[in-house]
Amino acid sequence: MRAFVHNVLLAIFWMLVTESFTLANFLVGFAIGFLLLFLARSLFDPTSRRYFTLAWRLPWFVAKMLWEIVLSSLQVARAVLSPRMRIRPGIVAYPLEAQSDLEITLLANLITLTPGTLSLDVSSDRRVLYVHGMFVEDPKAVVESIRDNLEKAVLEVTR
């Protein structure tokens, strides 16, 4: 967070020096500021240094999320349009590794937006997330695919 404030200040300074107060110039200053802070990253304490890894991981995370939405919509489209719907619905209990509010919210949202799964509810002690699946061939496989594809990605961004 401190690194981000520094970055914004550097961008404002860049606008002052170049005497052009436009959004484009702010972005240029922000990019240059980021580069400078990145070169000086060893001056920050470890918690502030997370800003640099996050700046790298967050775009990946968003891109992955968007891609999952496209995939899931195509899968729903196929299921809806096929004359005999070959669906196999089921409700699966998913043991959570995520703990904070943010992590669970992100994971539940991602589960809803990804192929064939929809999060229904979290148990009151936050240990299990109940997930409705459209194509549950094997409950264990569903749990594993959520853990490998989604929970890992969420924890990488939040921790």
Binding site: V76, L110, L120, H132
Partner: protein, 126 residues
Amino acid sequence: MLTLVYVLVLGGIFFLFIAAIGVVRMPDLYNRMHATSKAATLGVGLILVAVAVFYWDLSVAARALATLAFIVLTAPVAAHALGRAAYLSGVKPCEDTYIDELAGHYQKNHRLESVEVKPPAPDPSE
């Protein structure tokens, strides 16, 4: 540029149409929600991106993208709230439903028990 707008709008209409058909064709409420939460998000999203591309103006694009972000954040929450409310008020999953691990875990006061599960093995890298 206009071709891209056409493609995006047609794609958006296609997915919204799919969501509508899905609501009619799916066997029960939970499966219907799959159609509305996923296909509708993508459909509205594509149309909003098309708006941003068509006007090619920062103020319009910023508003379109902000709307898109809020839809992506809120559509799953709405689906979750609807699904939970439906389950609590006793809407039964359809007969094809192959496994229901949620059954019997709601208590009288709407608190939800967790199933007995072993905690996942600790990650050696941590």
